[in-house]
Amino acid sequence: MFFLVLKRILLGLITLFIVSLITFSGVEVLPGDACTTYLEREAYGAALEACYERLGLNTPAYERYISWAAGVLQGDFGYSLSGEMRINDVLGPRVKNSMVLASASILIGIPIALLLGIITALWRDKLPDIIISTVTIFSMTIPEFISATLLILIVAIWLEWLPGIVIVPTGVSISELLPNIILPVIAISMIMTAHMARMVRSSVIQVMASDYVQMAILKGVPYWKMVFKHVLPNALLPAINVVALTIAWLLGGVVVTEVVFNYPGLGRLVIESISNRDLPVVQALAIILASIYVSINLIADLMTLMLNPRLKSLQIKK
């Protein structure tokens, strides 16, 4: 058990290491470098030299990688190109804002998804299932920017119920932020919720067809007791990992939604830094987003390990 946990953590770290290599070498391999892309037409002579000097680009790639990675390990992402600001200072409040948005979406999305998934599975092929399943297939397929735009058009412009655009300064407190994020949260959680609901539905249906559920019925276990004791624990266990993947996928949606609502989070930073060709910031963002992804998956793995009696007592090959 201990080794299993250790192994999972180790694998996560290896993944992050590979991500850092990919982003670093990706920037190296692609034509141009930070200085030429940043300075664009002025990329010659003294200005270029000075830029190289400043960023240390005249040392070999592996040396730069090592010093960059060493910095990252200490939580220091170096300096951005544009504002010559410390990347940490730029990232700090943005990370916080995006986290608020993402966790609100997750906290609202997961319970709704579970509920919808279970309802549709238990009333399979009956009216509640048909209605909910149709709705989920629509909300699952519509891109965030469309749902966000429609939400603004309908709720903010036509009905005038909520602000359509988040206008808050970067350093605002969470309580001030909350009323502004209702629409973004809805837009973000729609796809994710629909996905998880469908996943939960098929997992529950699968377990409902199992021999042990038939056995529980034949044992005389009342319906709801059977659902809660025999069906759900076994149906939701494999769902954990898929939910984790869905959450990780939500990060992409956060970027787009933040742009639509003009929300001061990581998403807009991504767009801004890419538009400004600020590669050090892009690298930092890649590492941060990948670490979030890896940790969510790690948590899901560990949860599965904790909850699955089969894995609790068995040394299972990955």
Binding site: K7, K219, V221, Y223, N308, P309
Partner: protein
Amino acid sequence: MDNSVQTINNLTIGFTSQKGEQISILKNISTTIKKGETVGIVGESGSGKSTLALAMMGYVKHGLYTISGECLFHSNNLLEMKNKDLENIRGRKIAMIPQNAGQSLTPNLKIGYQIDEALKLHTDLKKEERDKKISELLNKVRLPSPEIMAQRYPHELSGGQQQRVAVAMALAGNPELLLLDEPTTGLDVTTQAHVLELLNFIAKDTGTSMVYVSHDLGAIAQVSDRIIVMYSGEIVLDGPVRSILKNPIHPYTFGLLKSIPKLTSPGLPASMSGSQPQPGTIKMGCSFYKRCNLSEDKCKNNSPNLEYIDDLNTSVRCFKYKELINVKETNSDTVKSINNDIFQNEILDISKVSISYAKQKFIDQLLNKVDDSNPTVQDINININKGETLALVGESGSGKSTILKSIAGLLKTKDGMIKFDKDNVLSNDLKTRDPGFLRAIQLIFQNPDESLNPNHTVEEIVSQPLRLYFGLKGDELKQKIIEVLEKVRLGEFYLTRYPRQLSGGEKQRVAVARAFAAKPDIILCDEVTSALDVSVQAAVLNLLQELKEDFGTTYIFVSHDLAVVRAISDRVAVLYQGRLCEIGPSKNVYELPSHPYTEVLLGAALEPDPDIKPKLVAEDIVEEKPPEQGCSFQGRCPRILGDICKTDVPPWQIGENGNSIRCHIKVDDLKKQQSIN
């Protein structure tokens, strides 16, 4: 009719096909289960026996529905009862013991909880009383240390233990009627015998009525007072166990009994042609018409009714049963004894072979530690003569399939070598093995559903070896395919079929055809009949024997079924935990003296005869690994000598009939001890 527990009247259950036709799975079932009676329901796959058992609990599977009839439990129709009321009957009045206990126990709940749940639902006991009762129940089904067992999860138990837990759970509510759906299928021979013995004990002890559903007449014979034979959704025969098994008056039952290989009469049993029709394909007439030897025109257009014959106390669904009334079931005149031309010419020499399955653990890999002191299969020495059929027998985990795989080159041996045709050492690795030798050794697998590519037609399947080894193409290839298919009694008609369109027996014939297409010298048969229905099994065994006689092929035949092995083999090797116990001509292995393990296996084998009871000489403990030293069978041996068995590997001794036994006990002593009981 006071003593009846359940009465089924004209029950018909079916489904609506995609074309909108109503298709019956059960047709007009009527029978009564009496108090304290054990009724065996026997039938092959697709006969509707499990659907009937579930209907007896008022449960009809998703997609099926009751077309007509009723299932009366003390005059309440279960099939029309509300779920709420059914919950009070299920588990309390009628309990079910499922086929696959491993899959029927909820994986996330402890054993103790699952039994407690039944107790809470169906008794008024308090918490402490229930805890006591759980231990009692687990004790009753003879599980060791009940307190510890109760804390375990289902997956931590062996198959036999899981089955016992299912029995304990069913007994929790003190039911009046126990339904058992193939409760011992999938268990090892010895475990099966023990579970059956336990069920018999429970039937006597509690006086519960039981309905025992199985395809296995051997198991049914051991537990039942009365037998119901089902065919194609109908009851064809219903009567007392002895009259059904000793003088079956329905041609299906008659043929079925003849097609079962028996330990007491060696040789190949007579086979029955064809297979059970799919539901909905018989529109009129007797459903057994096509396979019946006694059929006449009348049977084609008229369906016989279930007719009660007073003096036999038996009901039969046949126009011609009178012709069978005085025919005593005599196996000896239908059994075909095998007589192989065996050349004293070694075709395969397996010497000192050891095989290790042990995979390195992550941590061992880091430390570069290799643990192979105790390989899965060790020290196997067998010579096989040309034209011979050698059988490898043992329970699961005995390493019999492992040996087969290493002969085929699929598994690397750790030690020893395998020589083909005297001088050619077979390479350990498929990639470096001479293609000629690959062709010479072909495999037939247990389950044709797995061994035939579901996306290939029969033509494509059989063409694989022909193209690979002989480079055949075009018309020549097609001619050859047809020729090979005819050899296994499949017509040209089958060329364009996919495996899913064939019956189990037909699929296995295709697999046989594929193996023979390579013109092999040796065919390795891995449990080739165990996935087949009994009536089909005999046909496949007969086919294999005929092909062998035609081509002079050598067979290595792996099976867990001692009767099948007795029927087809010239020589038998008995394996336990990857070590040889006994080897010799099959006739002698089945006689005294035997290695203690052979004795245990033979004792546990079931015959379709209520008067031949299994002898249980050893505990059915499951051993995960062979012992580090000494005799491989020391853990379960009923005749253990002493410390010598634990420390020294026993020597080979030659018995008086030419079979070799690996045991510390002197052959003469073994014979003396064994002839006493």
